[in-house]
């Protein structure tokens, strides 16, 4: 039995997942442990904590882990990784694993939004990201929830109760603040304002999806996908069903773990064939495969 860890070091949260592989070609890898922790200033420390928690959750010990794949914004800061993978590759791999029919992935995290169009085999066809601006990302909702004094977990449900959604014209997360305060002072309901915020996010996301390419079977991943208000706003805007896999915030970590496992399998196959694999040669294999993945 081999265990591979995937760590997704996001700007808001660090997610870790451990998959087990029996070595048999007919078994699909299974998730044995997962964990999530807030990303602190020291990203490596947060990654270490997330990994330790996932190992504990899986009932394993640190030495049981055969391979570690990192992804996400802070992937380079994890020095104990065996490989790093972009969140585009890991997100699409994870989404494809969970929903093999998918041809379009939308990933909205704390600080970035990604739209990825997939080929039939789950490889990335094209992608577009927005990581220059907080409008359209999870932090927009977070900030809005803060000044509306609504706990972030309740934002989605509240938005679903909107009767007269208020469009938010500001595209900037910071400038939207004064707009929201004005809307509140004119006596509009918090529900209607929240729905307006989701609509504004859905608008940004749909623009990004259009630029990434067409697709009919959309899988929505990332922390923001947990918010049903956002899912509804997207469905209304795009006029297609939006599929949110359970554990949507772990999809990139899962994808990283699966790609890490593939790498591990590839390197051990070579060894089994009896080839003299020196560290350098193995490293070269890693490098070429990384390129292939990206």
């Amino acid at each position: 039995m081999r265990f591979v860890a995937g760590i997704d070091s996001g700007s808001g949260f660090t997610k870790s997942i451990i998959v087990a592989d029996s070595g048999s070609s007919i078994d699909t890898p299974v998730v044995v442990g997962l964990s999530i922790t807030r990303t602190g200033v020291n990203m490596e420390e947060s990654a270490r904590r997330a990994l330790d928690d996932a190992i504990t959750a899986a009932g394993l010990r640190a030495k049981d882990i055969n391979y570690i794949a990192s992804t996400g914004f802070g992937r380079y800061s994890i020095s104990f990784r065996d490989i790093q993978i972009t969140e585009i590759t890991s997100g699409s791999r994870g989404a494809y694993h969970l929903m093999p029919q998918t041809d379009l992935v939308l990933d909205i995290g704390s600080q970035s939004t990604r739209a990825i169009s997939l080929k039939n085999d789950g490889k990335v066809r094209s992608f577009k990201t927005n990581d220059k601006c907080a409008a359209g990302s999870g932090s927009f909702i977070q900030r809005a929830a803060k000044y509306l004094e609504v706990p972030i977990e309740e934002v989605g449900d509240m938005a679903l109760r909107a009767t007269n959604p208020q469009p938010i014209s500001s595209v900037c997360a910071v400038l939207a603040e004064s707009e929201i305060i004005n809307l509140v002072s004119t006596g509009l309901s918090v529900e209607d304002i929240l729905r307006g915020i989701y609509d504004s996010l859905a608008d940004r996301a749909s623009l990004l999806l259009k630029r990434a390419g067409l697709g009919q079977r959309l899988v929505f991943i990332g922390g923001v996908a947990k918010q049903n208000g956002m899912v509804k706003a997207l469905e209304d805007r795009l006029k297609v069903p939006v599929i949110v896999p359970p554990g949507c915030e772990y999809v990139c970590a899962l994808g990283a773990a699966l790609l890490g496992l593939k790498r591990l399998q590839a390197s051990t196959t070579i060894t089994r064939k009896g080839m003299k694999v020196k560290e350098a040669a193995l490293h070269q294999v890693r490098e070429t495969q990384t390129r292939e993945f990206i």
């Binding site: 200033v41 997360a173 004064s178």
Partner: protein, 273 residues
């Protein structure tokens, strides 16, 4: 004695000035705008009258400007802040041909002719980068007072490079530089330079002519003035009243409008042109 007032209701702060025909600027008041725009305007106007030791009824004419100008209940007229900043800047510095106005929530560049008329303008109101909010956020993250960030940035010798100008995301940039042990002055210098570059690229969309005057609340920040001068490679004209320039412009228009003879001169000008 003939008094006129200009009230500039900005997104963050409301400025009111009282001007007198002969004496010029007699009172200036600055209050936070807050959620109630109408109240902020009334409050600042009343406070300015008190400061000038006059009754509000003695003020012949009031011009409102700024984003909240239509919420002013006592004003005689409203004018855009573009026109008012141009007017104020060219009154204080007659050589002004370009005005860079950096306020709480927007940044503008205005190109004007030698009579103070607006030729062209651009503004950034879609994104908080390049506005006072950006600086306020940076100051908050670093736990430094907003008034101190400018002077402190001037002590920076090795400015950091920011990966983003987004007001929200720059927080994590700042935090990671702090955790790397970079000096607050170097971080702030980087923040000011990034903002200056963004504002200058905005300003280049109007024709930048020599005689650049900086107005708006951010003009009080010496670090920002210096950073802009460095990026522009030229000196800026900054009045100690830069923050009040929109209100001063509005008051100047109010002085003219309250004056009957001015009505004629405006009428004449219109006929000539």
């Amino acid at each position: 004695m003939r008094f006129a007032a200009g009230v500039d209701v900005g997104s963050t702060q409301t400025k009111a000035v009282i001007m007198e025909e002969q004496a010029g600027l007699v009172a200036r008041v600055l209050v936070d705008t807050g959620a109630n725009v109408t109240k902020a305007a009334e409050h600042s106007f009343q406070a300015a009258c008190n400061k000038a030791h006059i009754d509000p009824r003695d003020v012949g004419y009031v011009v409102g400007t700024g984003y909240g100008r239509y919420k002013i209940t006592f004003g005689n007229a409203q004018m855009t802040e573009i026109t008012c900043h141009a007017r104020g800047a060219s009154h204080v510095f007659p050589s002004t041909r370009t005005v860079i106005d950096m306020g709480g929530q927007d940044a503008k560049a205005i190109s004007i002719d030698d009579s103070g008329q607006v030729l062209d303008f651009v503004m950034n109101d879609k994104c908080a980068a390049g506005t006072g909010r950006f600086l306020a956020n940076a100051a908050e993250v670093m736990g430094i007072g907003l008034d101190e960030v400018g002077p402190l940035s001037l002590e920076g010798t090795r400015p950091v490079k920011l990966t983003t100008v987004c007001t929200v995301f720059v927080e994590s940039d700042i935090l990671s530089y702090l955790s790397m042990g970079r000096k607050p002055s170097d971080i702030l210098r980087g923040v000011h330079l990034a903002m200056a570059k963004r504002t200058v690229s905005l300003a280049r969309r109007v024709e930048l002519h020599p005689g650049i005057t900086m107005t708006g609340g951010v003009a009080r920040n010496s670090g920002m003035v210096q950073a802009l001068e460095e990026v522009l490679q030229t000196k800026l004209q900054v009045s100690p009243d830069a923050h009040f320039m929109g209100a001063i412009g509005a008051a100047l228009f109010a002085l003219e409008r309250g004056d009957d003879s001015f009505e004629t001169s405006v009428w004449r000008q219109t006929c000539v042109s």
